[in-house]
């Protein structure tokens, strides 16, 4: 699995699921397409309009902390984000992403490097080889570890709905 897209740099740590997908929409029965319109709304209100299919987010530590709302993952996946690279992810967000088969990459080195050079890399292209564990930005490469075996099984099934369906 390989991804290539324009880079979105969110330099903050602890970006929480309330700013990714505001609580006020959480209990309306929305389709994934409707959720996508609110992706990152309270962090960057223009994001959902400007993001293109395949774009990749690079951010700091503890991305997705706070509420367990799965719409945070679904809205990002549906709006076109192909992959998120962070120093670390909050636990429930990480599980939700596996369950929705949204690829997450943990790489402190890449995150630090991109955030440090964020003015240079703004709107530049970044690529991720998820199977081999390699991120590439311009000439620079970063390696990252594979998912744990259990997470990988769910991810490779295409998400938890498919995974559990196969176990019924």
């Amino acid at each position: 699995m390989k991804f290539k897209g324009k880079i979105w740099i969110f330099p903050d740590d602890d970006i929480n699921t309330d700013v990714i997908f505001p609580g006020k929409y959480t209990y309306d029965p929305l389709t994934p397409e409707q959720m996508a319109k609110h992706a990152m709304e309270d962090y960057n209100p223009n994001f959902a309009k400007e993001v293109a299919k395949g774009d990749i987010i690079v951010t700091g530590k503890n991305f997705g902390c706070g509420s367990s709302r799965e719409q945070a993952v679904i809205s990002l996946a549906k709006v076109g984000v192909s992959c998120i690279i962070a120093k670390s992810f909050a636990r429930i967000f990480y599980r939700n992403a596996i369950n929705q088969a949204l690829p997450l990459v943990i790489s402190s080195d890449c995150s630090d490097y991109v955030i440090r050079n964020r003015y240079t890399f703004k709107n530049k292209e970044i690529s991720v080889d998820f199977d081999r564990g390699i991120i590439k930005i311009q000439e620079k490469e970063f390696l990252f570890p594979k998912l744990d075996s259990q997470a990988l099984e769910i991810f490779e099934a295409g998400g938890l709905v498919e995974y559990t369906r196969n176990r019924l």
Binding site: D28, G66, S67, N96, N99, R167
Partner: protein, 419 residues
């Protein structure tokens, strides 16, 4: 095998591994109870995606659904969301269903006697950590995972490392559990316990009520914890008597392997305030510059219990709130509301100018019941002050204990000084 921490022992039991479990091992556990709320409509949709339209839940006696997040529903869409849930509950024969007005799921579950010690409680809500107050492992998960557990009765968990926190000495007067946990989060930060379980010990804990422990376990989530557990002691035993639970007192082994051990001396602790827009942005209340408030929120799963209402009532007795402040009061459950009526607390709170809401989450998550306007500031007993949390990204939320919230409502600005 080395000594086991409390979460290791609980997960080993839940996974049927008599030999114990090791850190980072993957185990499959079946929950004692799985909790969800207004999100159950979305979960039921995913459930049928997994099972097909004629699917049956694995065990209707282990599913707990409580409507609390948009109660009473402020618009027809949220009313329809509840309707879908009621239909699902009937169709599946869900045993533990609590309709609007019963209270917040994390309050109602233990009140109904559904949280014995040593069990795993899974919940489709990040504050499922609350149930650690009862010696259980309350572990939050997401919606799809909840649907999957409804279908097959189990999920995978990685055995976490444990952070041992000991509180030495006793809390000064007029300083509360909320201040303790805010202080901890301020020190260890918003990801200080990510992927970890926390165990709480110390002299302060021995004196802490169930309500105080719930506040601390609840907010363990704000440090990223997977669980925040109080080992069973006399206080838990006393609480459990009303339910006739039979249980063994699980304890961590003396040679248990902790990832980290921290101790805090609480002798000089003063009330803490978490400033916008992060829960770990904590300062002593006395260091805060003068901050005017528009809304004071007393309630939520963090501080909506009878003990919290008593603290606030003692302060608000025969006082009036500042005319520029709206004081919103949301008892965490109907039984707490009922008790507050019996004790005359509501009379005090209403006479002081407070508005009483239906037992539920209220404006904590920004959907209804007192959301903020752009430019407004709230002082709240809730657990989150994230940007947009109370309805608009252009408002500010400060978190504090119930006494600070009551005093600030009188003063019109954030303070712990008597008005």
């Amino acid at each position: 095998m080395t000594g086991q921490t409390l979460i290791q022992k609980i997960l080993a039991q839940a996974a049927g591994k008599e030999e114990g479990v090791t850190e980072n091992e993957i185990v499959f556990v079946s929950p004692h109870m799985i909790l969800s709320h207004d999100n159950s409509a979305a979960i039921s949709k995913t459930f049928y995606e997994i099972t097909g339209p004629n699917g049956k839940v694995w065990d209707p006696n282990k599913i707990f659904i409580d409507l609390d997040h948009a109660v009473p529903p402020p618009d027809y869409k949220k009313a329809e969301n509840h309707k879908i849930i009621r239909e699902f509950v009937k169709k599946q024969g869900i045993k533990y269903f609590y309709d609007c007005g019963t209270g917040i799921c994390h309050q109602v579950l233990p009140e109904e006697g559904l949280v014995p010690p040593n069990v795993v409680i899974l919940g489709s809500d990040s504050h499922t950590t609350t149930h650690g107050a009862f010696g259980a492992a309350g572990i939050p998960i997401g919606r799809t995972e909840t649907a999957s557990v409804w279908a097959i009765g189990q999920t995978w968990l990685k055995v976490p490392e444990t952070l041992k926190i000991t509180f030495d000495n006793f809390l000064p007067k007029d300083v509360y559990a909320k201040d303790v946990i805010l202080d901890v989060i301020g020190r260890i930060s918003a990801d200080g316990a990510t992927y970890k379980s926390i165990e709480f010990y110390g002299k302060t804990i021995d004196k802490m009520s169930i309500s105080d422990r719930m506040t601390i376990s609840n907010m363990s989530a704000e440090a990223g914890a997977k669980a925040g557990i109080f080992p069973v002691d006399n206080v838990t035993d006393t609480w459990n008597k009303q339910f006739n639970f039979q249980y063994e007192k699980l304890e961590a082994d003396e040679d248990a392997d902790y990832e980290q051990e921290l101790s805090f001396d609480l002798t000089n602790l003063t009330p803490r305030v978490a400033q916008p827009h992060k829960v770990d942005n904590v300062v002593p209340v006395e260091d805060l510059p003068r901050t005017k408030v528009d809304v004071a929120l007393l309630g939520t799963c963090t501080n909506g219990r009878i003990e919290d209402l008593r603290i606030a009532s003692d302060i608000l007795r025969e006082k009036q709130i500042n005319p520029d402040v709206r004081l919103l009061i949301y008892p965490a459950s109907r039984s707490i509301l009922h008790q507050a009526i019996k004790e005359g607390l509501l009379e005090i709170l209403v006479e002081a100018g407070g508005q009483i809401g239906v037992p539920a989450c209220g404006p904590c998550l920004g959907e209804y019941g007192g959301t903020l306007a752009p430019g407004e500031i709230a002082i709240s007993t809730a657990n989150r002050n994230f940007k947009g949390r109370m309805g608009t990204r252009d408002a500010e939320i400060y978190l504090a204990n119930p006494a600070v919230v009551a005093r600030s409502a009188i003063a019109g600005y954030i303070t712990n000084e008597e008005g």
